[in-house]
Subunit: 192 residues, 2 copies
DNA sequence: ATGGTTATGTTATCATATAACACTTTAAGG
DNA sequence: CCTTAAAGTGTTATATGATAACATAACCAT
C-alpha cells in the first residue's frame, strides 16, 4: 500500500492518493486548497451550531483530514492519518467510523460507494444527491448538482410510484486535467 | 444471518431476502418469475456465443442463482446457495468472484455498490449505466434506462471536459408495492 | 497426442465495517 | 457547586467483503 496506488491501479480501488503534503491531485496546484479546507471547516462549525449538534475535536479533525485533498479517502487510511496527526498511539476502526457516520448524517461528507471511501461535501446546505464525477487516474472528485439530472430521476421515480429516500450517482472516468496531461505527453510516449 | 434481514434491517445492508422457493419479493407473485430466469439465461447463452466467450456451467449457475429474485444478492450468500444447489462440499470466494467478474464484463449482471451485492441485468444488449431503483424494504430492484438522465449526465460531463467511462446510479427508497402495503395496513397499526 | 490457454480449486490473507461493553466528557437541573 | 443522565470515545473481538498466489483441471487448436 503506497501513495501511488491510484496512478497504478487500473480499477483505482482504494487508498487513493491523498495529500501527505507533497503527493497531491493535479488540481492542487491550480487552486488555493488551504482555502478549501478552511471554508469547509468554518461552514461545518456554522451548520453544526445551527443544528445544535457537537462538532467535537475528533469529528472536526476527521473532516479536516478528509478535506486534505479532493480525492476520496478510505476509512483505514484515515485511521493512519489520525494516528500521525494526533499524538495518539492507536486509533481503532469504531472511532473513525463513528465520526464518519456523524459527518454523513450532518451531510458534511459523502460516502463514495464504488470506492468504499469518503469525500467532503461542497454543498452541505443544499439537498443532497448530487452526482460525483470521479477521475480514475488522479482521484479528483467533483460534486455536481444538476437540475436536469434530478428532474429526470424524479420523473422516473414518480412514473413507478417509487418514493425516493436517498440516491447515489457516481460517474467514473478521466478529468479534464488528466486528459490534457496525456495529450501533451503523447509525443514522448511514442519514443518508448 | 437469516432470510428476513431485509425486512428487519433499517439500512437493508446485506443478505437481502432471496427466493429460497417461498421467501420472495412482493413482485414475485405478480409475475411469472420462472419466465424471467429462463429469458435471462437464454439471452446470456446467445450473447456469450455471439461474443465468443464461454458461459460455463459454473458461470451459468451463478447467473441463475442471481436471477432467483429481483433483489440484489451478496457474494457470500451466493456461495452458500452454490454449495446447496450443487453437490459441492465447499465453494471458496475466488470461485464466485471470478464468475461474478465474468458476468459483469459481459454486462449480464450489475454490481450494486451501495449494498455490496449483485443483480441480473435486464437489458444486457443496451449500453449500460441505467439507474437502479432499490426498495429498502423488500429489496426489489428495478433497472430503468432513462434517456433524459443519460443526456443530463452527458451534458454535465462535457461541460467539465470529463470523459465518462462508467457510471453507477442507485436510488434507494420504497417501491410502489411496499407503499401500497403500508397504506392498507395503516388502520391496523393504529390499534397498537 | 501435445502443448498453450482458459477456467477452476485451494489456502492464506487483506480490506472494510460493526457489535458489545467500558470509560470519559459534557451539559442540564437541583 | 454537585449529581447525574446523556452523549461521545476507547477497546477488544469479530463479522463481512474481496483478492493474491499458486496448483490443478478442462478446453481447444494444431
Ligand atoms: Zn481545494
Ligand atoms: Zn484526473
Ligand atoms: Zn421476475
Ligand atoms: Zn418494495
Amino acid at each position: 500500500m503506497n501513495e501511488s496506488d491510484s496512478a497504478n491501479n487500473p480499477r483505482f480501488s482504494r487508498s487513493v492518493s491523498v495529500g501527505r503534503a507533497e503527493s497531491v491531485s493535479p488540481m492542487a496546484s491550480a487552486h488555493d486548497h488551504t482555502a478549501c479546507i478552511e471554508r469547509a471547516l468554518k461552514e461545518a462549525d456554522l451548520l453544526c451550531a445551527n443544528a445544535d449538534v457537537r462538532l467535537t475535536e475528533l469529528r472536526r479533525k476527521v473532516l479536516e483530514l478528509i478535506w486534505q485533498s479532493h480525492a476520496p479517502l478510505g476509512a483505514y487510511r484515515l485511521m493512519e492519518m489520525l494516528e500521525q496527526a494526533s499524538d495518539r498511539k492507536r486509533v481503532a476502526p469504531p472511532t473513525v467510523y463513528r465520526a464518519l457516520d456523524f459527518l454523513i448524517e450532518q451531510k458534511l461528507i459523502h460516502k463514495v460507494h464504488s470506492l468504499n471511501a469518503f469525500i467532503g461535501c461542497t454543498r452541505p446546505r443544499q439537498p443532497h444527491g448530487d452526482a460525483l464525477f470521479i477521475c480514475r487516474e488522479c482521484g479528483f472528485t467533483e460534486e455536481v448538482a444538476s437540475k436536469p439530472i434530478q428532474q429526470a430521476i424524479n420523473l422516473s421515480a414518480s412514473q413507478q410510484r417509487f418514493e425516493v429516500e436517498d440516491q447515489f450517482m457516481e460517474i467514473i472516468g478521466r478529468c479534464a486535467a488528466c486528459r490534457a496531461k496525456q495529450k501533451s505527453g503523447a509525443s514522448q510516449e511514442e519514443l518508448l
